[in-house]
């Protein structure tokens, strides 16, 4: 019969297709024997097309940031373990964390031969802070005295220079802040504080296409938009971390999955974050070329404290109860396949100032207590809970798992509600339109506990999405900021963190991991607490 004949062929075709997919995923044990190194070897690094021209005071995203971090060096930076070390600065001293004296090392030069002087820093910072230039990173200079003259809330700036910055001589300048900030020295590592050569002011647009920095690498050729950006070793680099390779090619990818395919075929050398679809297989695919370590990032769900129902004081018990209904251990092991760690506080383990169990018993799984606490607090407002998250960030798995736990263990109906893009979620959050839980994550600006507590829990802070306000905690944070030593500051911030569990404006969920890997062409690839590879240490095999 005609019909049977076609059916035979269909069946055969189906068998062939299934057979092909079944023979998938050949493992690789990885060959990490110490091979001979080519000191001029060039390797490729996963990146995305930068959103803005490459100007340090205007780059706040990963795509441009990674390139700038190799073209420039600031006063200080962090080593692989997260310890602050001096780069261009010989010393950054302050008796009171309000007045700083910065002395520079001699001999540093920009890639075009210009010397790096105190004015290179001061002029660059004045440019970045100046409201007229509308630089995205201008708020980093907000603590410096005279900032509000240069960057008023409304209208044109009244001055071009901040009064708190004074050049003493070519190798020395002073900074005066409008109030003491104990972590100011830590902040100086950020891209916004990089020095700029005089060549920048002549043509900022051209500079943004091919920046002239003072870092271990300089621009190689042109910026091939959307394709790649090449940098090569700079022979005159004065820093302690001299490159062990000849250059880097930052390859721009639109989709993580394509980048991962390239990594597995050795067409891409380093990936700092494998896509969610490959989390299960990347360790088998890459063997010991995979990297799985904690970094300075966490995931929490926050509650809208500006909402009348959630702001009632007894609701703190409800939030504590909800937190105890979540079995973090099981979720990280099963739904997340070990790609995150359970959180026991608001500060990740690898960050300076971390204290174990800041969240106390409220982050330990206890379904009986959970139900009791929620009952004592008068139940969840509306007796329903939702978790809002952005669908374009690989958050579906944990959001749904957490909601399931709440449903099962606390008996509270819970739904995970995605928003299409990060942008959309952020707009809803900053417009204070939330009426139930939402994703609030934080990746460190610098590895210190203050960054995780102050930015999100101080009254009126920039990233205080929940609208949380506690005057006692504000006072503690102020005291910490004015502390004379960083150790004292850390102790006071730890007290503030411990107090957070009494009101529980957010529930700490996980400490995030770097899940990355490298190809067979390179070795000695290490990731730091910022989820960045130590670019200068990567060795290219011969």
């Amino acid at each position: 019969m005609r019909g049977a004949k076609s059916a035979k062929w269909v069946a055969m075709a189906a068998v062939v297709a299934l057979g092909a997919t079944a023979c998938g995923g050949g493992g690789d044990s990885g060959d990490n024997e110490k091979a001979a190194v080519d000191p001029n070897g060039v390797y490729t690094y996963q990146d995305v097309e930068p959103q803005n021209p490459l100007i340090p005071t205007n780059t706040n995203e990963v795509g441009g940031g990674y390139i700038l971090k190799n073209l420039f060096r600031g006063l200080v930076d962090y080593d692989v373990k997260g310890k602050l070390r001096n780069q261009v600065a010989q010393s950054v001293e302050s008796p009171d964390n309000q007045k700083f004296t910065v002395k520079l090392k001699k001999g540093w030069k920009f890639h075009n031969g210009e010397p790096v002087t105190a004015s290179s820093f001061v002029d660059a910072w004045n440019y970045g802070a100046n409201g007229k230039n509308a630089q995205l990173n201008s708020s980093w200079f907000a603590d410096i005295k005279g900032f509000d003259q240069v960057h008023p809330e409304k209208g044109d700036p009244k001055a071009d220079k901040m009064s708190g910055l004074k050049v003493v001589n070519d190798n020395e300048f002073t900074i005066e802040l409008s109030h003491p900030v104990s972590t100011f020295k830590d902040r100086l590592f950020y891209d916004a504080f990089y020095p700029l050569p005089k060549a920048f002011y002549k043509d900022p647009k051209k500079f943004g296409e091919a920046p002239i920095g003072n870092g271990p690498y300089e621009v190689d050729g042109k910026w091939e938009h959307k394709v790649q950006f090449k940098v090569k070793k700079y022979a005159g680099y004065e820093g302690v971390d001299k490159p062990k390779n000849g250059g880097i090619v930052f390859k721009f990818y639109n989709k993580d999955e394509s980048a991962y395919n390239d990594l597995v075929s050795d067409k891409l050398d380093i990936m700092y974050q494998v896509p969610p679809s490959s989390i299960n297989v990347y360790k088998t695919d890459l063997g010991d070329r995979s990297a799985d370590q904690m970094f300075g990032g966490n995931t929490t769900i926050a509650f809208p404290m500006y909402d009348k129902a959630w702001a009632k004081p007894e609701k703190a018990k409800v939030r504590q109860g909800l937190s105890m209904a979540i079995d973090r251990e099981t979720i990280t092991k099963t739904a997340l396949k070990g790609s995150k760690d359970p959180a026991d506080g608001w500060t990740p383990k690898v960050v300076e100032g971390y204290q174990p169990n800041a969240c106390g018993e409220y982050c330990k799984f206890d379904p009986k207590k959970a139900k009791q606490f929620i009952k004592d607090g008068g139940g969840v407002p509306g007796n329903k809970m939702t978790i809002a998250y952005n669908a374009d960030g690989g958050n579906k798995e944990w959001a749904e798992a957490v909601c399931n736990d709440i449903k099962q263990n606390a008996g509270v109906p819970c739904a995970a509600e995605p928003r299409a893009t990060f942008q959309q979620l952020r707009t809803e959050i900053t417009d204070k339109k939330m009426n139930s839980a939402f994703r609030m994550a934080w990746v460190q600006d610098f590895p210190n506990i203050s960054n995780f507590i102050a930015e999100q829990y101080r009254t009126g802070a920039g990233a205080n999405d929940s609208g949380f306000s506690d005057k006692k905690l504000d006072k503690l944070m102020e005291q910490a900021d004015s502390a004379k030593t960083i150790e004292e500051s850390n102790k006071l911030y730890a007290q503030a963190e411990a107090k957070l569990k009494d009101t529980m404006p957010s529930i700490p969920l996980f400490f995030d991991h770097t899940n990355g890997g490298h190809s067979k062409n390179v070795q000695n690839v290490k990731f730091d607490t910022f989820r960045q590879a130590i670019w200068t240490d990567v060795e290219v095999k011969k």
Partner: protein
């Protein structure tokens, strides 16, 4: 004929204005504030936001922005994207790549699709016919991204015949695999369509006449049969070119090709009005021109069709 062409070209103008206005309005009504989104997770600084908004012209009323855009367009200025690069540059980078990919896919589906269609139409009922029918059935039922991923997996990762992503977007050789993936669905349609019309036309009276008159087989098939069978196929192919260029997003994503589809996607995500309108305008023009060409081709293929 000349008047017909002129009339068609004039008709393009209102279509052009209508589409650009519509796209403009749609982009600006997308949720989310594009300027605040530039700050990422961090809080936006109100003074900088104001200034940037003014810089991008976002503080003017919507119709004023549209007017600025149209007048700029006549000067050849497609506007500026949020990255500071002129949109014209972005398009000049992206279009050549997509044009290559689309033309390659178009060529493949034209040549292979029509050939398969003719062969199966002539050999109706035989093994070749059944095999091609099953093959096209499978291709039409599998979504394009699955075909793409399976292609990358089999040919790129397992058998290592191709690189999993396109390393150099301008190299035609490397664009072959993505072109095949992109054109696969249309190829299936073209071959089935051709087969149907060939089978139908084989029964026509003029075919019997040609055969009776003793014309060589090659001429019967190549000229008499093909000219009539191709009319519906040409209709499909004409609209397909525009679809190929705009709809290559998925394929471009999988193979990491830096073309129009991806630029458009990113621009929509960040609500960059000028970029979206610029790209869509060009795509609309491509669509209009190709449908005009298709209509003109009818007259070439079938002398009975005449345009006033």
């Amino acid at each position: 004929m000349g008047r017909y062409v002129a009339r068609r070209l004039l008709q393009m103008i209102p279509v052009f204005i209508g589409t650009t206005l519509l796209i403009f309005l749609m982009v600006y009504s997308l949720p989310g504030d594009p300027v605040k989104a530039l700050f990422g997770q961090r809080a936006s600084d109100p003074a900088t936001v104001e200034r940037l908004r003014h810089q991008f012209g976002l503080d003017k009323p919507l119709l004023a922005q549209y007017w600025d855009y149209i007048t700029g367009l006549f000067r050849g200025d497609f506007g500026q994207s949020f990255t500071g690069r002129p949109v014209a540059d972005l398009m000049a980078d992206a279009f050549p790549v997509t044009i290559r990919l689309a033309l390659l896919a178009f060529g493949i589906e034209l040549v292979v699709g029509v050939a398969l269609g003719v062969v199966t139409g002539l050999m109706r009922g035989k093994f070749v016919d059944r095999f091609v029918l099953v093959f096209t059935l499978i291709v039409t039922s599998i979504p394009v991204f699955v075909i793409g991923f399976v292609t990358v997996f089999l040919f790129g990762l397992k058998w290592k015949v191709i690189t999993p992503t396109v390393q150099d977007s301008m190299d035609i050789g490397q664009l072959f695999a993505p072109a095949m993936v992109l054109g696969a669905l249309s190829l299936a349609y073209v071959s089935r369509l051709t087969r149907t019309t060939v089978v139908e036309n084989l029964r026509a009276d003029y075919m019997r006449t040609a055969l009776a008159k003793g014309l060589p087989r090659r001429r019967i098939i190549g000229v008499h049969l093909m000219r009539n069978s191709l009319i519906p196929v040409v209709t499909f192919l004409g609209t397909d070119l525009g679809t190929l260029m705009g709809g290559a997003i998925v394929t471009e994503g999988i193979f990491n090709i830096q073309g129009v589809g991806n630029t458009l996607f990113r621009a929509i995500q960040t609500s960059e009005g000028p970029t979206v309108v610029g790209i869509v305008t060009v795509l609309v023009l491509v669509y209009l021109v190709s449908s005009l060409v298709v209509d003109l081709l009818y007259a070439v293929l079938d002398p009975r069709i005449r345009y006033a």
